[in-house]
Symmetry: C2
Subunit: 168 residues, 2 copies
């Protein structure tokens, strides 16, 4: 577990010393890696079984419900969800087929497409919300102290900022 996978002496290319992680750092990083995987698996299962929605679909509904007029441009939605345009198009196509959202080309900009939350979509969201909130509490919020949760949020905000500052 704390054993270095590779003999560092044979590893480092000459002239480029690699700053390996020490034991504590490695344990923390592994816990993060498997912990996020386990957490999101559980949240996804809970939501899927309890409300017939994937986490992605749920997030789409939430963002639309928060938007003025329950309408958002596809590009804005994609950016908020950190999804590719293509991915969002496919997701929205499925959700439109299911009657949760509807699309129409933007009046202001002929290139753009507005995505709107339908009444059925809003109903689905309202049914799903308590299930999802309970799940997030059970798996995450109620497992940690308030300070732990806020520290987690702060840490990921820093990480997010750093990544975006270096790319996209």
């Amino acid at each position: 577990m704390t054993q270095t996978p590779i003999d560092t002496s044979t590893e480092a290319p000459p002239g480029t010393p690699v700053r390996w992680l020490d034991a504590e750092q490695q344990v923390a990083w592994r816990a993060l890696l498997t912990g996020t995987s386990v957490l999101f698996d559980a949240l996804g299962r809970d939501l899927e079984h309890g409300a017939g929605l994937s986490l992605n679909e749920y997030e789409v509904l939430v963002r639309l419900s928060e938007a003025p007029g329950r309408v958002l441009r596809m590009s804005v939605l994609a950016e908020e969800l950190v999804h590719s345009r293509s991915r969002l198009t496919h997701t929205i196509s499925r959700m439109e087929r299911a009657g949760l959202v509807s699309r129409c080309s933007s009046a202001q900009d002929g290139r753009g497409v507005d995505c709107m939350l339908t009444d059925a979509g809003r109903a689905q969201l309202e049914a799903a919300a308590p299930v999802h909130v309970a799940s997030v509490r059970r798996r995450l919020v109620d497992v940690l102290t308030r300070d732990q949760l806020l520290a987690l949020g702060a840490a990921f905000s820093q990480i997010d900022e750093e990544v975006r500052s270096h790319f996209g």
Copy 2:
């Protein structure tokens, strides 16, 4: 995605005692949600561009390199990586085709299959490791204080433990 109506007990009539998240909790949860997404996207990109491996494949190589004799049973590997058996079979099939691992049926238990790291796989891992460690440092470890990182690890350990205690 089925049209099956939600059980009415999960439907929230006005006044149902749902313990919603307060503003701070919600901000933290959202930061975690998008932060992990942004982080793993970046780590995956870095590794893919720098060493031609996906994060999953890298993790497979790491686990095998740490195992005695560089051999692990498929089921053990699947459990360590928190992947379904099916998913691991596909991943290993691709990696075997690429020459990174090899499979042979276990001598001890005729039902089992042993997965072994090949020399080529080890070479690939040794080439990828410095790239990946640098990436993890840049995106995560060096962005946080040591205490922040350890706190993150501790929090996810707790979450992991909670989830597993309630399910599989």
